[in-house]
């Protein structure tokens, strides 16, 4: 399933917007910082390309908003997302029994997958797989766009 071009377009559009904001505020940064900023803005762009339809995108935006530079994320959407995520976390914490050991391969791997996918801990198994499906598609689109950019920037050599 090849990521559709509209998704890539959306992603790129958002990414450029994010990069503009970021470059506007930062004067100097080392390579690692740049890389982090690039990756973060790319992730946020990818998540916002989903327009809050998927849980992982909401969780990603909420996490980015709470942890990183707030200016990268648009205020309106992120606060709503972070609120949702926060309430979900509270609910989960209160209801969930803390399991120290995961029985069996499947559980172990489900746990790993939950850690991989943003906001995965809050999902039940069924929706986890659904979300991971969508996340994979978005990641592929992101990788494709970034590769295009990289090879385009190499063109002049």
């Amino acid at each position: 399933m090849r990521p559709c071009n509209s998704l890539k377009l959306e992603f790129l559009k958002n990414w450029i917007m994010g990069l503009q904001r970021w470059s506007f505020s930062k004067k100097e940064m080392g390579i690692l910082e740049r890389k982090k900023a690039i990756k973060l803005s790319a992730d946020i762009a990818m998540a916002s390309a989903r327009n809050g339809t998927t849980r992982w995108s909401r969780a990603l935006i909420a996490n980015a908003y709470s942890k990183h530079d707030k200016h990268l994320v648009s205020k309106g959407a992120s606060t709503e997302y972070s609120r949702r995520i926060r309430s979900k976390k509270i609910l989960k914490r209160s209801c969930r029994r803390i399991r120290r050991r995961s029985k069996g391969l499947v559980r172990e791997r489900t746990r790993i997958l939950k850690n991989l996918i943003p906001g995965g801990e809050l999902m039940n198994e069924g929706s986890l797989i659904e979300e991971s499906l969508d996340y994979i598609v978005s990641l592929r689109a992101q990788v494709d766009v970034m590769r295009s950019l990289v090879s385009a920037s190499e063109v002049d050599r």
Partner: protein, 471 residues
Amino acid sequence: MEKDEAFMAEVLNRTASRQLTWNTEVLNCATEKLGNHFLNPNWDNSMDQSDPFESALSSMVSSPAASKVPVSGENVMMRELIGKLGNICNSGDASCYSTPLNSPPRFDLSMVNLLNHSTLVPFSADPGFAERATRFSCFSTGGDSGCFNGPLMDSFKLSSMAGNSDSDKKNSGVSRSSSPENAESGVSKEESSVSQQIPSQNDAGTRKRKSIPRGKAKEIPSPAAADAKVASENDESNSKRSKREGAPSGNGNAKASNDGNQKQSKENSKPPEPPKDYIHVRARRGEATDSHSLAERVRREKISERMKFLQDLVPGCNKVTGKAVMLDEIINYVQSLQRQVEFLSMKLATVNPRMDVNMEALLSKDMFQSRGVLQHGIYPMDSSPAFPCGYHPQQGLLPLNNGIPNTTETQFSMKTQGFKLPSIDGFIDAHPQVGSMWEDDIQSIVQMGFGQNQPQSYQGSISTGQVKIEL
């Protein structure tokens, strides 16, 4: 959800075609009515169709009542089939299990209520069974679908044969011939083979029936008891039906219906009760029948269905079956994609900013609103010394260039899209900043590649390497 609904419509159509090949008069006259309803591909109308379908089916069932051939073994087989098909029903997204899915089984139970222990009861239930069988076979993995469909269709045909003929031998012959067939195409093929195979050779029919349903991962209940079960199931289903009436809508509905259905579907061989809005789950033989385990099974089936989708996404997962291995593959794939993103972002970060004063001056104006800007935007690309020593074009990227033409070509074809870069004039710094230079590169690349109205005009001013982008 739409996918599932389309699938259901497809299955119903197939069921209709299957019915039309049935040999008996009863079937033929009934199927005419059925076919009219089944063959309507419009899923939205399925609700309206269901009632006429039901009445047609009931008429069909009641008419051959006199001519039934009581074969207890076949009854049992049919119940097993019903059980299996009930399982099939649940292999799918809960939200898809709206009334359309349930409408076929509705007839079955009404038939059961009408006729007790009639061979035609299971027979009349066949449309729903067959449909569910195909649905189930579709959801099965590729390798399994053939064998699975085989046994189900075998028993399906066995029941149909029961109505047609007196001999078990025919059934066994039919089942044998139909077992190697595959999936949905196999379904229709089997149907025709049924009609042809009526005068087939002799065999221990029950033995054949028992041995055939083997290939699938799901259990196939062995011929079990009793007619008493049917009666009890009827009562149960009635009570459960009333329970289910009160279920809330949406997912809650599906969930409650799952539980209710599971409760009512405790015995394997019971024909499914006419569903309202719920998913009917049938307990398999040897499994716990309490609502929790049944709900768990529904959940598992839902998950396995989604695994199938993921199999298409994750490369190299086609042959992998089993949740643990699939999960492992998914984890690896997600990790590799995330690592790629990291790597690519690091690579992009190493793009040296160009200290091109000209470019700043150009870009600081409000350029990107017009075509003229694009020329300026291209200029930095031409004159850029840009890239640091550590920035090696890698072999691995060359095959990826295929991605660029793909994207850009499509973009060019999407010229009329309202895609316009946000005005960046406000954000362009006059200072040679790392970020802004690099960002301008990206923007110029984007403008070259994406959705500009006259992309061809760029080519003259662009180096040959960049033409690659614009392909």
